[in-house]
C-alpha cells in the first residue's frame, strides 16, 4: 500500500530521514516510534507530501506519490494530528464533512456518512453534530478529528501522535476505539507515537527509528524478544522487557486443565499473562483459576508455565 524506497530528507546538512526502506501492506497498523528528533513525524509527513522528500521515492498503490495531483493524493489519505486542528468556525458535522465536500459528494450521502462516523466514535449525532469545537472536551475534539480523517473512506490513515495530548483515561478509550475501527474497517494505518506502550498495544508492526535511520522493524513481540542492538533494548526499557512481553500474551495461551486442588483466586481468560503474574505476586499464590466470559471455570494457569514458555 505504501512503500518507502531509499527515501531521504535533509534539512541543511542534517538528514532528518536517510535511506528509509519500508513496505507497508494493506490492512497493517504500523507504528513509527523513536526518540525525539528520530524523524518519525517527518517520515509520516512525507507520505502525503506535507514534507517533500529529497532522494528516493515513495509509492502509494504502486505509483510514485509525486505522480498524483497533490490535493487528490491528500484527499485519499486521512490525516489526524495531536493538536487536532478542527476548524473553529464550523460545527462538528461540518468539520467531519470536510473531505467528502471537497470531493463533491451529494448532501444526503455526506449526512449519512457523518452520522455513521459519529456513531462509530461513540458521539451521539443528535447531541454533538451542531456543536462547535470549543464546546467539546479534548477527547471529544480528537474523536471528531479521527472521524474527519476517516470521512471519505480513505485508503490510508495517517496519524501524528493523535492521542499524545490526552489524559490517560481518555487516551485509553480512544486507543480502544482506534483498535476497533482498525478491526472493523481493515484500513491501512500509519501512526507516529513516542509512547511505547501505545505502540505495543495497537501496532501490528513497529518501526523503530533513530537519528533518521531505521533501526528495527518487526511485530511487537519480535522487537521485545530479539532486540537488534543495545539501542533497541534501551529504548524498549531493558528492566521490564520481560513484563512487556508477558503483557502481549493472553493468559488463554497458557491454559491447562484443572488438576489437584483448585487454586483459590480467579482470573478472566481475556487477561494478559502480565496481569496473571501480577495477581499471583499480590496474592502470594503460584496458580490461578481461569474463567471465560460467562464465568465458567475453563482451567488454570501456573507461574512456572507463564515464566517458562514465553516463546509462543
Amino acid at each position: 500500500m505504501i512503500k518507502f524506497e531509499n527515501a531521504s530528507k535533509f534539512y541543511g546538512d542534517v538528514a532528518a530521514i536517510s535511506q528509509l526502506d519500508l513496505d507497508i501492506q494493506p490492512g497493517e497498523l504500523v507504528a513509527l516510534i523513536g526518540p525525539s528528533g528520530s524523524g518519525k513525524s517527518t517520515a509520516l509527513k512525507m507520505v502525503n507530501r506535507m514534507v517533500e522528500l529529497d532522494h528516493g521515492r515513495i509509492l502509494f498503490k504502486n505509483q510514485d506519490i509525486t505522480r498524483f495531483n497533490l490535493q487528490d493524493l491528500r484527499r485519499r489519505m486521512g490525516y489526524a494530528i495531536q493538536s487536532v486542528g478542527l476548524f473553529p468556525h464550523r460545527t462538528v458535522a461540518h468539520n467531519i464533512a470536510t473531505v467528502p465536500r471537497l470531493l463533491g459528494w451529494e448532501a444526503d450521502r455526506v449526512r449519512a456518512r457523518v452520522t455513521e462516523l459519529m456513531n462509530m466514535l461513540s458521539m451521539d449525532p443528535d447531541h454533538y453534530a451542531g456543536r462547535y469545537p470549543h464546546q467539546l472536551s479534548g477527547g471529544q475534539q480528537q474523536r471528531v478529528g479521527v472521524a474527519r480523517a476517516l470521512a471519505a473512506d480513505p485508503d490510508v490513515l495517517l496519524m501524528d501522535e493523535p492521542f499524545g495530548a490526552l489524559d490517560p483515561v481518555t487516551r485509553a478509550a480512544l486507543q480502544r476505539a482506534l483498535k476497533a475501527i482498525h478491526r472493523a474497517t481493515g484500513k491501512t494505518i500509519l501512526f507516529v507515537t513516542h509512547d511505547l506502550d501505545e505502540a505495543l498495544l495497537l501496532a501490528s508492526r513497529i518501526v523503530l527509528l533513530n537519528n533518521g535511520r531505521l533501526v528495527q522493524v518487526g511485530t511487537p513481540l519480535e522487537l521485545l524478544q530479539q532486540p537488534a542492538n543495545d539501542f533497541v533494548g534501551d529504548f524498549l526499557g531493558r528492566a521490564d522487557l520481560g513484563l512487556k512481553q508477558l503483557s502481549l500474551q493472553p493468559v488463554a495461551h497458557y491454559l491447562k486443565p484443572l488438576a489437584g486442588p483448585a487454586p483459590a483466586y480467579l482470573i478472566p481468560s481475556t487477561a494478559t499473562a502480565r496481569e496473571a503474574i501480577s495477581c499471583m505476586a499480590e496474592q502470594h499464590v503460584s496458580s490461578l483459576r481461569v474463567a471465560d466470559a460467562n464465568g465458567n471455570i475453563i482451567g488454570q494457569v501456573s507461574a512456572p508455565d507463564l515464566l517458562a514458555n514465553n516463546h509462543v
Partner: protein
Amino acid sequence: MASPDTQRWNPVLALYVAVALVASMGLPFVRVAPNRLLSGDPIFLGDVLQRQGSPLVVALVLAVFTLLVLAIGQPQRRFTQALVSVAMAASLAGLWLLASHVSSSVSPVDHPLQRTALGAGFWTLAALAWLTALDAVARLNLATLPRLIVHIAGCLPLLLSLSEGQNLSLAKEYANHSDVVGPAVVRHLQIVMLAVVPAVVIGVPLAWRMSRSAMLRQGLFPLLNLIQTIPAIALFGLLMAPLAWLAVQLPMLGSAGIRGVGMAPAVLALFLYSLLPIVRAALAGLEQVPAETILAARAMGMSPWQIFWQIELPLELPVLLIGVRTALVQTIGLAAVCALIGAGGLGQIMFDGLFSAANELVILGVMPIVLLAMLADSFFQILETMLKTPAP
C-alpha cells in the same frame, strides 16, 4: 481613573453641567443679523427665557437642571440614567425649538434678509446634551443592538422638530442650497466607495501575500506607514503631476476623467490612506488563525484558494471588519478635503462657506459628513456583533 463600577459620583457629568452653565450665560445662544454677511447681535439664553419663555419652558429647564445635578450623585442607578437619556434627547429638540422660536418672533415679512444664526452657546449646549446622552446610555450597559436602537430613538425628537426651524439661518442656507446638498452627498459617497472598496479588494489579498512573505511585509509596511504620515494636501500635490502627465500621454485616460485634478487624485490618495488600516487589520486577523488549523486544512487536501476562502477569510473577518470600519470612517472625513482639488462632495459646501465667511454654510457641509461617519460606524458595529455570535 476609577472604573464605572466603583464610582460614587460622575465627575464627567459634573464637568458637563458646569460648562453648560458657563456656556448658557457667557456665550450667545443665537445671533440676529440684518443680513447673512454681518455677524449680528448676540442674544443669550437668559434673555431668550426672559423675553419669550413661557413659565412652562422655564420650569422644564429647571427640572432638567435638577435632574442632572441629581444624576451626578447616582452614576449607578439605571433609572436615573434612563431619565437623563430621555431628558437629553428632549433637550436637543428643545434647544432647536427655542432657537427657531427666536427666529420666528422677528417678523420675516418686515425683514426678509434678517438672519437668526445659531450661536456658540447653542452649539455648546447641544454638544453637551449629546455627550451627556451618550454617557447616560453607556451607563445603561446595553448590548450593541439595543444600544444602537436607543441611539436612533434619541435622535427622533430632534428630527421631528427640524421642520420648525425654517426661519433659522441654517435652514435658509439649506433652502438656498437644497439643489446641491443631495448631489454633494452622492458625490461624497462616490469618492469614499471608489477609494475604500478597491482598498479592501486589493488590501485583503495583499495582506494574505504578506502573511506568507516576511520580505514583502518588511518592504511594504514602512511604505504604507509613510503614506499615512503625508498630509492629504501634500499627497494630492504629489499625485497631481504624474496623473496630469498620464492624461497627456494617454488621451484615452484623460477622456475617461483621469486628470491631475478632480476625482482621480482624490480617489487615489484616499485609496492609499485606506490601505494601511485594512492591510494591518487583515494581517492581524490572519495571524490569529491557529497554525494547526491551516496545517489540517492543507493535509485534508484543500487548495491554497480553498484554504483562504473557506478557512482564513471567515476566521479573520471579525478583525478585518474593524480595519475596514476604521478606513471607512477615516475616508468619509478625509474626503471633505478633496473638494480643494475639484473633486466636489460635501467638502465643496464646507469650503464655499469658509471662503464666504458663512458659518451656517460650513455647518451645512460638515453635519452630513459627521452623520455619514456615524452611520457607517454603527453599521459596522452591528455587523461585528452579528459575526461574534455564531448561530448555536
